[in-house]
């Protein structure tokens, strides 16, 4: 199903960036930190329509970045499912970053220090100590992002429209049904499907997170 594909890729591809940004925000002080922080939260604050519109202006075919990406890499977002994934990723990004950042802040820097005394450089410390320890947080972030992506529709429909088979995600289909008299029943069916999928993902992630946490606690 398209929605699944969109949410999956949106989550998967934004995860590394999310971890990177969260790490940056949690562990470094730099000029413009608050600006970055604000930028990350922006999609949460803005009405989705505005976000979608801004995406359209930036990543649309006529948009600055969009045109460049198309020329340089043949990468088109506008009115493709990739665009839906982009919109979902952007909307879900603040949730993901927050969750991961909280997890990073909870890691005891003393363990990272111990790793560095044993010869691990910063990237290695991150890969071998920080990352495994924040895994439950990363999973939580990913699941939040996935759920959000499954539910996202305001920005998506504004950015890439609602083209069946191409950019129509579950929520935008729900939206269309809700716009016409008598569509409620149909809409509710779709809602149930969406809820079922998201809950499944949720339970899966809970279970995964628990397993990881248990492994760490060693009990």
């Amino acid at each position: 199903m398209l929605s699944l594909k969109v949410s999956f890729w949106a989550t998967l591809l934004s995860l590394p960036l999310g971890v990177a940004v969260a790490y940056l925000l949690a562990r470094y002080e730099f000029w413009g930190k608050q600006a970055l922080n604000g930028l990350v939260h922006l999609p949460l604050i803005l009405p989705p329509v505005v976000t979608g519109y801004l995406l359209l202006l930036t990543f649309g075919r006529r948009g600055a970045v969009g045109a460049f990406l198309e020329q340089a890499f043949g990468l088109v977002f506008a009115f493709r499912w990739t665009g839906a994934a982009l919109a979902a990723a952007v909307m879900a990004f603040p949730l993901m970053v927050r969750a991961i950042r909280l997890a990073i802040e909870a890691v005891d820097p003393k363990l990272e220090q111990a790793a560095s005394t044993l010869g691990a450089s910063r990237p290695w410390v991150f890969a071998t100590v920080t990352l495994p320890l924040i895994l439950p947080g990363v999973i939580a972030g990913a699941i939040l992002a996935f759920a959000k992506a499954m539910g996202e529709f305001g920005a998506t429909i504004t950015f890439v429209s609602n083209i069946p088979g191409q950019t129509q995600t579950l929520p935008s289909a729900i939206y269309s049904f809700l716009q016409v008299p008598g569509g409620d029943a149909k809409a509710m069916q779709l809602v149930l499907i969406a809820v079922a999928i998201a809950l499944l993902a949720l339970v899966l992630s809970e279970w995964l997170g628990r397993a990881v946490a248990r492994r760490i606690a060693g009990s």
């Binding site: 329509v49 979608g52 519109y53 359209l56 202006l57 649309g60 075919r61 006529r62 948009g63 506008a78 009115f79 429909i157 504004t158 429209s161 609602n162 083209i163 069946p164 088979g165 191409q166 950019t167 129509q168 935008s172 939206y175 269309s176 049904f177 809700l178 716009q179 016409v180 008299p181 008598g182 569509g183």
Partner: protein, 236 residues
């Protein structure tokens, strides 16, 4: 698909039906993207691959036309609609709406549900109608505005608001409301759903589907959904 249509979301039921019929007839596939007229128009402005645009108001069509984004000569007024007042409940007595009606009194401290009166077309028309009846000043403080007509209808249907102003096409299928009055056509700007082929359409079938939409078969479908087909009243 052979034709990609960008259409106002309120047309979904009818348009899906027409598109299905047309495919049976011609074997051609029509794909329809439903969203708010404003979103769709902006997307077309940004190069969306739409072949045909059906707007819920003339405004957004004018906007595209002035930017030369629709093919000259293909624009036509496809449908009209009526504005009605609905009340919560089944078979509620009709209301005589004129300057003397105490609409505010009927509402008491309850609300009149409408779409956004300054931006969403149904709301704009409703405000015009109430103004022409001289009712606006009395009820304006009691209006509950929603972002689309369907939400306004839901407010009435659930009993949250006793009265609401919606399109006739919306009132058709909702069992929880009854139409208690139909606003006179002259009391507001004409409700028109214009359609046009976009300027960068590459589909050879777009014009054909537009014709089909204006045809008698389509008219029947539209009428069943509460719309008023305006065949032959286009400007081009």
């Amino acid at each position: 698909g052979d034709v990609l249509v960008f259409a106002a979301a309120s047309l979904k039921t009818a348009l899906d039906q027409v598109a299905a019929d047309w495919r049976e007839e011609t074997g051609k596939q029509v794909t329809i993207s439903y969203a708010g007229s404003s979103s769709l128009a902006r997307q077309i402005e940004q190069g969306a691959p739409a072949d045909l645009f059906i707007s819920a108001s003339s405004e957004w069509m004018d906007y595209l036309q002035s930017a030369d984004l629709i093919t000259a000569g293909t624009r036509r007024d496809l449908l009209g609609n009526r504005l009605v007042m609905v009340a919560h409940g089944v078979e509620v007595a009709r209301i005589e709406l004129d300057a003397g009606t105490d609409l505010a009194g009927m509402l008491g401290d309850e609300r009149l549900a409408m779409a956004l009166v300054d931006s969403v077309p149904a709301g704009v028309y409703g405000k015009q109608a109430l103004m022409s009846l001289g009712q606006w000043d009395a009820v304006s403080s009691k209006v509950a505005q929603t972002d689309n007509v369907r939400a306004a209808l839901a407010l009435v249907s659930s009993g949250e608001a006793p009265l609401g102003i919606v399109y006739a096409s919306d009132a058709v299928a909702d069992a929880g409301v009854s139409v208690v009055a139909v606003f006179a056509q002259e009391s507001h700007a004409p409700i028109i759903y214009p359609a046009a082929v976009t300027a960068n359409s590459t589909s050879v079938d777009a014009q054909a589907f537009l014709e089909a939409l204006s045809g008698p078969g389509a008219a029947e479908v539209f009428r069943a959904q509460g719309f008023e087909p305006l065949v032959g009243q286009g400007d081009g």
